[in-house]
């Protein structure tokens, strides 16, 4: 079959390894990537009770890359891990660039399904048809860099693609991540924890079979069109140059940054100045670089700390490798108030090496810093927690350093408090101190923390409250209200209102459609950054055209959108089976009740419009407003009667 590989199944309990083709009717319905990952997850949990402990052996770990991943669209290749997420105990998936996904595809496998639990630490080696489960005891206990080097040395290939966990995953930190070579992180929802719970240190892959193409000439024509469209988008040069770091300056202008645990949404100007992309480019960047195969955007950057460029640079002198992303700057730079790229880059690397979601850890430290500022915790507490009287004052790099280490190694009380995420950490601290602290946790659905001002941007706020994998921006990535994109709003809804900033108008619909649209991109396997942020530029028709040339399967943009919607509905259905309902689609107190103190969105808070927008959101999805559950009508229209039957049996769908 052109453009597709097989499904590889590995059971770590029995050691059984088998392959099977992807059923053609499944391809028709879910296309690939996130879609077929979700279908495999759904199949697994029709045989296994979805309410199982996600850290137990009954969970499943699925790795997948969509059909356009590893090909030459110029838009990159983003692979996904899918599983029941241990971080928020609901649907979990996590995305990464890097070379592992493409290596897997070149070896002939689009999806890998790992079940069971090995009785001792192992890693999986995939070398075309040869698939082995190998002893990993020599690599267990090591950070990602050292472990990857060890595995590569052992296999005699310095370029081997490896998806690997650090100590955090081994120690079952619920938000542990998987680092995909070279330094890309499948960060959120706890993929690394699922690896660790299966005694799986890593998956290494190399492939020489490649991907067959139905119509090479047609494919290159589609690529030509993508190149042409990208060039016509004036924002793309900035994205190629600065990647997500460009967001720092843009958010500063629209009041989109979150400062000091989101108590503020404007960062002092002298601090913003040294966190701008320009500062990084002028002082630390050495090269641009593409995080994944076939990405001509190349929005990532390689950097070097020479030792004199910033106040903290001397401390991190000699540091080289990938630069941070906006998320790292938002968490450590703004959240913890450490406006210093040398330190931010170091923390970025440290999180990737211990293998933990830097979003969650970057939420934990600002939270503790706010508690410190409020006098709720002090040196006596920190001495008791980690043996040292660490001061959690704003800007203290020692506090961040110690927190990352404690969480990764799980060798003290501080690590233990933070092991299962911030909401649980707040409970732990409340029990110890007998003071309520939950109101200082910045989080959305499921408990995931996030550092961005969203109260003035209702589409993003809603996305954070409803995302199938918990509070996050990547499930419904869009620029309509943050970028004031009236043109997208007009094209999608016939009205410019969703593109008008700082108002709730049409934002519920926009959130719903953005989810379906972003998922439609994700099932193809390319990166969402250009495609979802500017859907008028690279539209779904064009992506469908590249898909058809690759696979020979007829598909248009509308059908691709529908497959995206189907996939998102599958994720919703999974969560409904776990008992998630409307009351779970929510945001923390600060976002809901506290008005923004300053900047363009001053005075805005989510509770003023939240319920109305949720109604609008469910309605657009065709789900029941009262419960949030999917309706019979909607699932029938999506040709998902098999899913409907499961839901109806469990009382998790409505008429």
């Amino acid at each position: 079959m052109y453009g597709y590989g097989e499904i590889l199944r590995i059971d770590l309990s029995s050691g059984d390894i088998s392959t099977e083709p992807i059923p053609s009717q499944v391809i028709r319905k879910y296309v690939g990537g996130e879609g077929i990952n979700d279908w495999l997850l759904w199949q697994h949990f029709t045989k296994v009770d979805p309410k199982i402990d996600p850290k137990g052996p009954d969970n499943v770990l699925i790795a997948g890359l969509g059909p356009l991943g590893g090909t030459a669209t110029g838009l990159g290749s983003k692979m996904k891990f899918t599983f029941k997420g241990p971080a928020w105990n609901m649907f979990g998936d996590s995305v990464a660039g890097g070379t592992f996904g493409t290596a897997m595809r070149y070896a002939g496998y689009d999806h890998i399904v790992v079940t069971g639990r090995a009785d001792k630490p192992v890693y999986i080696w995939i070398d075309d048809d040869k698939v082995e489960i190998r002893d990993a005891s020599a690599h267990w206990g090591k950070g990602v860099k050292e472990a990857v080097k060890g595995i590569r040395d052992e296999l005699g290939d310095t370029d081997m693609s490896v998806a690997c966990i650090g100590q955090a995953g081994e120690n079952l930190v619920s938000y542990a991540s998987v680092t995909v070579t070279e330094e890309r992180s499948a960060g959120r929802t706890g993929a690394g924890c699922v690896f660790g719970s299966k005694n799986l240190k890593a998956i290494a892959a190399r492939g020489s079979k490649g991907i067959s193409v139905s119509d090479p000439k047609g494919y290159l024509e589609a690529t030509d069109e993508i190149y042409h469209r990208l060039k016509s988008d004036p924002t793309h040069w900035g994205f190629r140059k600065n990647g997500t770091l460009g967001v720092v300056g843009f958010y500063d202008r629209i009041g989109g940054n979150a400062y000091r645990n989101n108590q503020f949404s404007m960062v002092p100007p002298e601090k913003i100045k040294v966190m701008l992309a320009r500062w990084f480019a002028d002082n630390m960047k050495t090269h641009d670089f593409a995080c994944s195969t076939g990405c001509t955007m190349g929005c990532c950057q390689i950097c070097e700390v020479k030792g004199h460029e910033s106040p903290l640079a001397e401390r991190y002198k000699g540091l080289t490798g990938e630069g941070p992303e906006y998320f790292t700057v938002a968490t450590f730079g703004m959240g913890c108030d450490i406006p210093d790229y040398a330190a931010i880059t170091h923390f970025h690397h440290a999180c990737n090496d211990y293998g933990m979601d830097l979003g969650e850890i970057g939420g934990a430290v600002p939270f503790l810093m706010e508690l410190w500022e409020r006098g709720i915790i002090d040196e006596e507490d920190t001495k008791r927690w980690c043996g040292e009287p660490i001061r959690f004052e704003w800007g203290n790099v020692e506090a961040v350093e110690k927190t990352i280490q404690s969480v990764g190694l799980q060798n003290d009380r501080l690590g233990e408090i933070l092991k299962d995420g911030l909401v649980k950490a707040a409970q732990n601290i409340m029990e110890e101190k007998d003071v309520p602290v939950q109101q200082y946790v910045i989080h959305g659905k499921g408990g995931a923390t996030f550092h961005e001002e969203i109260r003035s941007f209702p589409i993003w706020a809603l996305n954070f409250a409803v995302a199938s994998r918990g509070c996050d921006h990547l499930k419904g990535l869009n620029m309509m209200d943050k970028g004031f994109r009236k043109d997208i709003s007009k094209a999608w809804f016939g009205s410019e209102k969703a593109g008008e900033g700082y108002t709730p108008d049409l934002k519920g619909k926009a959130a719903a459609r953005s989810e379906n649209h972003t998922t439609a991109i994700n099932i193809t396997g390319v990166c969402v950054f250009r495609t979802a942020l500017n859907p008028l530029n690279i539209d779904l028709d064009l992506m469908a055209r590249a898909y058809t040339a690759l696979t020979g399967i007829e598909l248009n943009g509308e059908e691709l959108y529908l497959a995206g919607e189907r996939t998102y509905n599958l994720e919703k259905a999974f969560n409904s089976r776990l008992g998630l309902r409307r009351e779970d689609d929510t945001l923390c107190d600060r976002w809901m009740k506290e008005p923004i103190k300053e900047g363009p969105g001053k005075g805005m808070k989510a509770e003023d419009w939240f319920d109305d927008l949720l109604d609008e959101y469910y309605e657009y999805h065709g789900w029941d407003k009262k419960t949030s559950l999917q309706t019979r009508k909607k699932l029938e229209a999506l040709d998902m009667v098999d899913v409907l039957e499961v839901l109806e049996n469990e009382g998790a769908a409505t008429e």
Binding site: G74, Y106, T223, R240, K241, G294, T296, G298
Partner: protein, 164 residues
Amino acid sequence: MGAKKIFSVDSRLCVGCKQCELVCSLTKTGTFNPHKARIRVTRNQVKGNYVPGICYHCKQPKCQQACPEDALKRDIETGAVVLNESLCSGCRACVVACPFGAVQVDPDGNILKCDLCGGDPTCVKYCSERPENSSPLMANPEGAKALQYVEPHQVTYTRRYAQL
């Protein structure tokens, strides 16, 4: 007509996307498979940056000199050193002889040799265009690429190779 065009490579601008490998294998084999590409991008393990490895179609090609079957010939039109596959015995003398590691062997044992796509190299066409100052090391102008196909006097970074 000016001198024949040749490859120019500037690794400071290479983002490691490997789009060149993908379009090369697509054009030559109808598949996406870096193992079948005539161009190879390698990672500098120390610095973390990438370097495109191309055939320089040298003035005095070591591969041609080493070939016992006389299967490598210069194309008068393009200046490319081209492999005549029907004469090739697959002995790999050219692979060993090339000082740049630019002659490759695919997983089936076939010799892979760049032929400049008949004078319009596909890899150059799809190489990522970089924004202004994308590489602070060279302060590049907007639209600069790691791979260029230019007249010899326009070659900058790889000049010393091209003279071989």
